[in-house]
């Protein structure tokens, strides 16, 4: 069950990259990268359940924090055209 869930989630994450490559505007790419990050958090948690290794739960937490910073930087790039003045 968990192996099938890992396979389907990895496939969904791969399919999200279509919108990153093909997206017409920068906002589409930012939204798709946010969706990829959300899927990878779920993938880390599923892998922690599959291997029963506790480290991957903390890896999911760190990915969630880093992904929020990436989303904030993307929105700042869309609005101002630059990230750091």
């Amino acid at each position: 069950m968990i192996e099938t869930a890992i396979a389907i989630t990895a496939l969904l994450t791969l399919v999200c990259s279509y919108r990153v490559v093909k997206g017409p505007t920068v906002a589409d790419r930012a939204v798709a990268i946010d969706a990829i990050n959300t899927n990878v958090v779920a993938l880390g948690m599923l892998y922690a359940m599959h291997t029963e290794n506790h480290f991957f739960v903390n890896i999911s937490l760190m990915l969630a924090i880093t992904g929020f910073i990436a989303t904030a930087a993307s929105s700042r790039y869309i609005k101002k055209g630059e990230i750091i003045k």
Partner: protein
């Protein structure tokens, strides 16, 4: 219990990615992913919390749940506001929310 939660989370993730691929506008895609994918991750992380329950690491799973539910709407709102205030965005019919 764990299988039901994983199945529910997987279905919500599939709905979010389908909306990301099939909708027509950046705002519509953001609407799909920021709610459905967040709920899917919430159910998946809740399945992890149920599986790891007697061990202390289930509190980290609950922390991931709380953090995702706090930051995903905030990030979507930041991207939406930046897109709305962008100069190159066309078809702007409502101007009273512009900065």
């Amino acid at each position: 219990m764990i299988d039901a939660l994983i199945l529910l989370g997987l279905s919500f993730l599939t709905l979010g990615v389908t909306g990301l691929l099939k909708f027509s506008n950046a705002m519509n895609r953001m609407h799909a992913t920021s709610k459905a994918s967040t709920l899917g991750v919430g159910f998946t992380v809740l399945a992890g919390a149920v599986k790891f329950y007697p061990d202390g690491v289930y509190l980290s799973s609950v922390l991931v749940l709380i953090f995702m539910f706090m930051t995903a709407p905030t990030g979507a709102h930041m991207i939406a506001r930046a897109t709305y205030n962008n100069k190159e965005t066309e078809n702007k019919t409502l101007d009273e929310f512009l900065d």
